[in-house]
Amino acid sequence: MDILQYAWLIPLLPVLGFIIIGFFGGRMKEGGAPVAIIAAASACVLSIWVGIEILLRDLATPDEAFVMQTTWLQLTDDLTIEFGIYLDNLTAMMLIFVSILIFLIFVYSIGYMHEEGARKRRYYAEVCLFATGMFGLVVASNYLEMFIFWEIMGLCSYLLIGFWNHRPSAASAAKKAFLVTRVGDVMLMTGIIILFIEFGDLNYTHLFDRAIVDPSMGTLPWDNLQIAMLLIFGGAIGKSAQFPLHDWLPDAMEGPTTVSALIHAATMVKGGVYLVARSFPLYVQVPDVLLVIAIIGGVTAIFAASMALNNMNIKRVLAYSTISQLAYMMLALGAGGYAFYYLGYADGYSASTFHMFNHAFFKALLFLCAGSVIHAVGTEDMRKMGGLSRKMKVTSIAMLVAALSISGIPPFSGFWSKDEVLASVWNAAEANSMFYLLWALGAITAFMTAFYMFRLWFMTFAGEEGEACKHAHESPASMAGPLVVLAVFAFSSGFALFIGDGFLSRIFFGHAHDITSMELLGEIFTDWKTYLSVGLAVAGIVLAYYMYVKRSVNVDNVITSPGGAKVYKTLQQRYYFPQAFDGIGLKVIYPVAKVVDYFDKNGIDGIVNGVSGSITGFGRRLSKAQTGNVHNYAAVVIAGLSVILILAYLVGGL
C-alpha cells in the first residue's frame, strides 16, 4: 500500500469533523472537542506518515513531486482546473509541523476554552474547518486549488477573530483582518489569472516544468510573468502580514489565544511564506521581484520589531514578533532567489523554510504560554503581571525555552535557522550590495527581538507579584501537557539540521549543501557573523534584564524628553497605520460612496422621476382643455372639421 495515494484524506478528515461538530456538537461533551481531536489526531498521524514517506524517498530525483489529480472544472476546451495533491519535500515539512501543532493546540483548547459554554461548538467546528484549509493549502496541486483553501483559512480567521463577536472590538478586528488580507487576495487572484491565461495551466508541475526544464527561457512571456509573480507576492504580503498590509495581525489578537497561536502565529500566516517558497521555481526567473521581496522582508522585520519594544499587551508583543519573524523568512527567500539567479545557489530557500519550521514551534509555544498566563491572571496587560514564575513553573520554563529560542541563543532551535537566514542574506550581497543593508537590518532586528522577548518574560514572570496575579495558579494538564511537548520541540527542532543527512539536504532548491553535519557545525562556528548575532541577542537580553529586573537602566527621561516622547507615541500608535486605514475607509471611500448614493438618488433617479414628472405635468396641463362646457366642445368640433375640409380642399383638390 502506498500511503501517498491517500494523502488527499488529510484535508478531508477535519472537514468531516467540521460537519459532525457543526450539526451535532451541541449535544456532545465539550461542544464536540473529542471529535475535533480525533480528526486532528488522525490527520496528524497520516500527515507525519506521508511526510516521512516523502522525505525518505530516494534522493536521486529530489525535485520530483508525487502528483495525483482529477478534473474539477473544464472551463473551456483548453482551460481546465484540476484538483489534486502535490507532495514534495516542502509539502512534507509543512505537513509535519502543521499537523503536530494543530493536534497540540486542539488538545490545549480543551482546557483553555472550557468555560465558553455553548459557544464551544462553534469554536471546534471552525477550527476544524481551518485545519481543512491549512492542510488543503499545503497539499494543493495548483494555484487555484491553493487559493480556494487560502480563502477558506481567511474565512476561519475572520470567524475566529470574531469569536467573541458581541465585543465591538472583536467584530471590528475580524472585519479588518478579512478586508486587509482581501486586498492581498485580489492581487493574488489577479496573479493567478495572468498565469492561467499566459501559460494555459495552473498546475504546479506544468508551470515549474516549463520554468525549470526550458533552458532557453525564451518561450515564456516574461513581462507578464514578472507582473504575475509580483501580484502573487502581494497575496503573500496580505496573508503573512508584511508591510504595508501588516496592520491586521495585531488587531487579530482579539480572538482567543489558541486561535492566535494556531492561526496567527504557527500556521495560516505562514501561508504567504509557503506560497513564495512553493512558487520559487517561478520566482527565480524574475530577480527584480525577488529584490522587492527581500526589501519588504528586511523593512518589515525591523519595522514590526520596533513596535513590539514598548507594547504592554502580551499578545500584541507576540503578534509584532510574528510579523518580524515572517519578514525574516521573506527576506531569506528573496535573498536566496536573488543569489540563485546571479550566483547559482539558493541557500536562502532552505534557511527560510527551516526558520518557518522552527518558528512554528517556538511561536506557538510562546502564544500558548501567554494563553496559560492570561487564563491564570485574566488580563493581557503586562503591567498587571509579574513574579508569575513562582506560581506557574511549567509555563514560565516553557516560555523561557521559547524566548531563548526566538532570540537565537545556541543551541536552541531559533539559533540555527536565524543564523542560516542572516548568512544567506550576507551571501546574496555578492550579487547586489543592497543585501548588506538588509543584513544589517536583520542583525539589528535580532537584537531587538531578544530585547522585547525578554522584556516580556521579565515583566510577566520575574520581579514582584503583579496586581492581577493574586490567585494565579498553574493551568490544568490539558494545557500544561502541550506546553511541555512544544517546549521539547522548540528546543530541539533546530537539530533537524543534523538528523541523518539533515534538513538542508532534504529541503532545498537547486542543489543541496553538500556537506556533513560536522562540517556545517564548523562552518557556523568559525564565522564572525555567528558570534555577532549571538552577541547582539545576548546584549538584548542583558539590556532587558537591567531595565526590567534590576531596574538599574532607566529610560524614563529618554521617553519623557520631547523627541523620545514622540517616538514612543509613534510606536504606540503603530506608526499611525490604524488611523491611516480608518482614514481611507471613513474619509475617502465612505464619502465617495455617499456621493455616489446622492448622485443615484438625485442624478439618475432624478432624471427618471423628471421624465415621468414632465409627462404627467404635461397631461395635467392638457386636461384643462376639457372644460365641461358643451359649447366649447361643439366649437372645437366644428373648427376642427372646418380646418380638415379646408386642408382637404387646398391639398387634395377636393
Partner: protein, 100 residues
C-alpha cells in the same frame, strides 16, 4: 327643373343655422332643436342626391336618420328633464362638472 345647387344651397343654409344654434343657444332644448335642424339639413342632401341619381338608398338613409333623430331627442329630452329636476335649470353653460 330646379338645378341641384338650389337644393344643396338650401341644405347648407339649414346646416349653418343649426350649427349656429348649437353653438350659441344657452337653453338645452334649443340646442336639441338646432341639432334636429342640422340633421334635417343632412336628410335634405340625402334626398336630393337620391332624386338626382335615381337611387332609392338615399331615401332609405333619410328615413333611418329620422328614426335615429327621434330616439336621440327622446334620450336628450330625458337628460334635460333630469337636469332640470336636479339643478333647476336647462342652461347648459352652468352644467360643467364633467371638466378636468
Amino acid at each position: 327643373m330646379i338645378p341641384i345647387e338650389y337644393f344643396l344651397g338650401f341644405a347648407a343654409i339649414l346646416f349653418v343655422i343649426g350649427a349656429y344654434g348649437v353653438m350659441t343657444a344657452k337653453n338645452g332644448i334649443v340646442v336639441l332643436m338646432s341639432v334636429e335642424i342640422m340633421l334635417n339639413a343632412a336628410n335634405m342632401n340625402f334626398i336630393t342626391f337620391s332624386s338626382f341619381f335615381n337611387d332609392s338608398r338615399g331615401q332609405a338613409f333619410a328615413l333611418i336618420s329620422m328614426a335615429i333623430a327621434a330616439a336621440e331627442v327622446a334620450v336628450g329630452l330625458a337628460i334635460l328633464l333630469n337636469l332640470y329636476k336636479s339643478r333647476g335649470t336647462t342652461d347648459i353653460d352652468e352644467v360643467n362638472i364633467m371638466r378636468w
